[in-house]
């Protein structure tokens, strides 16, 4: 904001389109008072008024070349906020063009508190295969590349995100899943120890129950159970939400508002899932080993101290690292599969149910396939 001092009046230039001339107690906006300039206007005018300790102010509208709804509201806004400080702001010299807009955009009521095809067999088979590749594999990869592009591009650009949406999604996807993940991991840890106890006892190899529980939970069951549960809970929810948004034209609406639906809807979910999954896996591991420890104590007379000691010997840092990698892969698979099927919904509400089911089945399958591949890679 540049100031230029002449004899008795001062010219403030706000943006490219608007200047404010201040003479005595008359403030004259010159130029366009519109969506681009209204924000600065509402910030600067009260500052000028306070700076000069004015009690009665006139805003002369004669030199306004163009005004839109934001401009009109900016005028009213200044008037209202100043009235609260017992400063009167009078709008004077209103040209007809401005007055028309002011009449159109009036607030009648009190303003509230602020917002917070069919061929032979081969042809048909070929077509099915072609269709599968062109519409599924290709479509999936296209979506994945778009989502990854935006999630990297927006990583440090918080202004591009909807405020609080990542936190919101983290609660929905991660925090709310804690009870079920902990409970099921505990039960599975317990059952693994219990089922092996008979065999181990007959060989007098009681202590190896610790190896069994720790290795199976840490490197396999913990991450896998978590991922399957999240695929069931959130994969379906994501597919259903996106499918509903598509059916009700909400996604079209976002597009025509100039907002990228992938970026606006899917990226926050991806962030949230990738962020919370590692923590969920750690919780699942702890719960699973606690369950295993309890069964070992009850059926094999292994005290918690012995269990803990032996556990320390067996645990490998590598398992933590692989769990982290796995969590990111599973999270991406779940969110992308859910979104992909959500976006493929055919018109109508019953389509939503169908894609939701398919999304869950496919994401669980993909998670298990990825688990096998990663298991071989990190063996």
């Amino acid at each position: 904001m540049a100031k230029k001092k002449t004899d008795q009046d001062v010219l403030f230039s706000l943006g490219e389109q608007l200047k404010l001339r201040v003479e005595g107690r008359v403030i004259s906006p010159e130029g366009r008072l519109n969506f681009e300039e209204a924000g600065n206007f509402t910030l600067l005018v009260p500052r000028i008024i306070r700076g000069r300790k004015l009690r009665h102010v006139q805003i002369s509208l004669a030199d306004i070349k163009q005004i839109d709804s934001a401009g009109v509201m900016a005028l009213y806004h200044v008037q209202r906020t100043m009235a609260r400080r017992r400063i009167s702001v009078e709008l004077v010299n209103t040209p007809v063009s401005v007055e028309e807009k002011m009449l159109l955009f009036t607030t009648k009521d009190q303003l509230p508190e602020r917002l917070t095809v069919q061929g032979g067999f081969l042809e048909r088979t070929g077509e099915v295969v072609h269709h599968f590749f062109s519409s599924y594999i290709f479509g999936f990869l296209l979506l994945a590349s778009n989502i990854f592009y935006w999630s990297f591009a927006d990583l440090f650009r918080s202004s591009a995100r909807r405020k609080g949406e990542v936190v919101n999604q983290s609660v929905l996807i991660g925090v709310n899943a804690v009870p079920i993940v902990v409970f099921l991991s505990f039960v599975i840890g317990f059952v693994i120890a219990l089922q092996s106890s008979g065999q181990l006892k007959s060989f007098g190899a009681n202590i190896f129950v610790v190896d069994l529980v720790v290795i199976s939970i840490m490197s396999q069951m913990g991450p896998l159970i978590t991922a399957i549960l999240i695929a069931g809970r959130s994969g379906s929810a994501i597919a259903a939400e996106i499918a509903t948004m598509k059916v009700t034209a909400e996604l079209d609406a976002l597009k025509t508002m100039g907002l990228n639906p992938n970026r606006f809807v899917i990226v926050p979910k991806l962030y949230a899932c990738m962020l919370t999954m590692p923590f969920l896996i750690v919780l699942a591991n702890v719960a699973g080993m606690t369950g295993g420890g309890l069964a070992a104590n009850l059926y094999l007379d292994i005290t918690p101290e012995i269990f803990m000691n032996r556990m320390g010997d067996i645990m490998r840092n590598k398992d933590l690292f692989t769990a982290l990698i796995k969590s990111q892969v599973y999270a991406a698979l779940i969110v992308l599969t859910g979104s992909f099927y959500g976006l493929r919904v055919e018109r109508g509400a019953e389509g939503v149910g169908r894609v939701t089911t398919v999304a869950v089945v496919v994401s669980i399958t993909l998670v298990i396939l990825a688990d096998s591949i990663l298991g071989i890679v990190f063996y």
């Binding site: 969506f35 681009e36 209204a38 924000g39 509402t42 910030l43 839109d68 709804s69 934001a70 009109v72 509201m73 900016a74 009213y76 806004h77 028309e100 807009k101 159109l104 955009f105 009036t106 607030t107 009648k108 009521d109 303003l111 509230p112 602020r114 917002l115 509903t244 948004m245 009700t248 034209a249 909400e250 079209d252 609406a253 976002l254 597009k255 025509t256 508002m257 100039g258 907002l259």
Partner: protein, 255 residues
């Protein structure tokens, strides 16, 4: 005075799988006018509108909006074009996870740097324009059909777009609300110079607001021209539509 063409559609073709919806649709819409798209239900009005919005790939023909050929637009140019348009969808399409006010605030907070208090004032005023200020804190699921439409209209005009598309804005409205909605549309046209494309079936509405009629029938334009001519059209579908006027009192409104 010759008006500027803002929308020009040439020989547009559209189909879903084996169902041909539009076969050779051509028409124009002009700056500062209300262009009403008419047609029986299922005649492809919404489909046509969505093509104008660039939401479907163009299968045949040509569409140009504000002098830009839609098929030639790069993504950034399309987004730029979206900044000049407001859209009221047939379903309303308010985001279900946000309140009415947050929905209207969305374009404002995403595309401008206005302070939050001013945004909330603008939102309140825009909701007031459609008589929905009382629904400020409600969620879309808590609104009736007519209320949804009005809230969605508030969102469509949030940014004072020069070009407004409305898909059946009057559906579900009582006659009084309908009249005030029409008045709003006229105000937007007259005072902001907005160009408006309207899909509607409401005869009284058409008589009040329409400058130009585009009548869709069997995938083609059965009539295109000023409202007065439309009422005397010899095309069977068009004259059937306007024949209701001959029986109804609404006739008086014609003048």
């Amino acid at each position: 005075m010759k008006k500027e063409k803002i929308i020009e559609v040439n020989d547009l073709y559209a189909a879903f799988d084996s169902l041909t919806v539009l076969s050779g649709v051509s028409f124009s819409a002009y700056q500062g006018e209300v262009t009403v798209i008419l047609g029986g239900s299922g005649s492809g009005k919404t489909t046509l509108l969505k093509h104008l919005l660039g939401l479907y790939p163009i299968m045949g023909g040509r569409i140009s909006i504000l002098g830009k050929d839609l098929a030639q637009l790069r993504e950034v140019e399309q987004v730029e074009l979206y900044h000049k348009m407001g859209v009221l969808y047939q379903s309303g399409a308010l985001l279900g996870s946000l309140t009415v006010a947050e929905n209207v605030a969305l374009p404002l907070s995403q595309h401008t740097k206005l302070p939050p208090e001013l945004i909330s004032d603008i939102v309140y005023m825009k909701l007031g324009l459609v008589n929905m200020a009382h629904a400020y804190h409600l969620y879309p699921s808590q609104l009736s059909g007519g209320m949804l439409k009005r809230a969605a209209l508030a969102r469509a005009i949030a940014m004072d777009p020069p070009l407004l598309f409305c898909d059946e804005p009057g559906a579900g409205l009582d006659p009084v609300s309908l009249e005030s909605l029409d008045q709003l549309i006229l105000n937007l046209k007259n005072q902001l110079g907005m160009s408006i494309v309207l899909v509607t079936h409401e005869v009284p509405s058409i008589l009040r607001v329409a400058n130009r009629i585009v009548f869709l029938d069997q995938g083609q334009v059965a009539f295109e021209g000023p409202l007065k001519e439309a009422m005397h059209s010899k095309h069977p579908a068009v004259s059937a539509f306007f024949s209701v006027l001959k029986n109804e009192h609404v006739r008086e409104l014609v003048r």
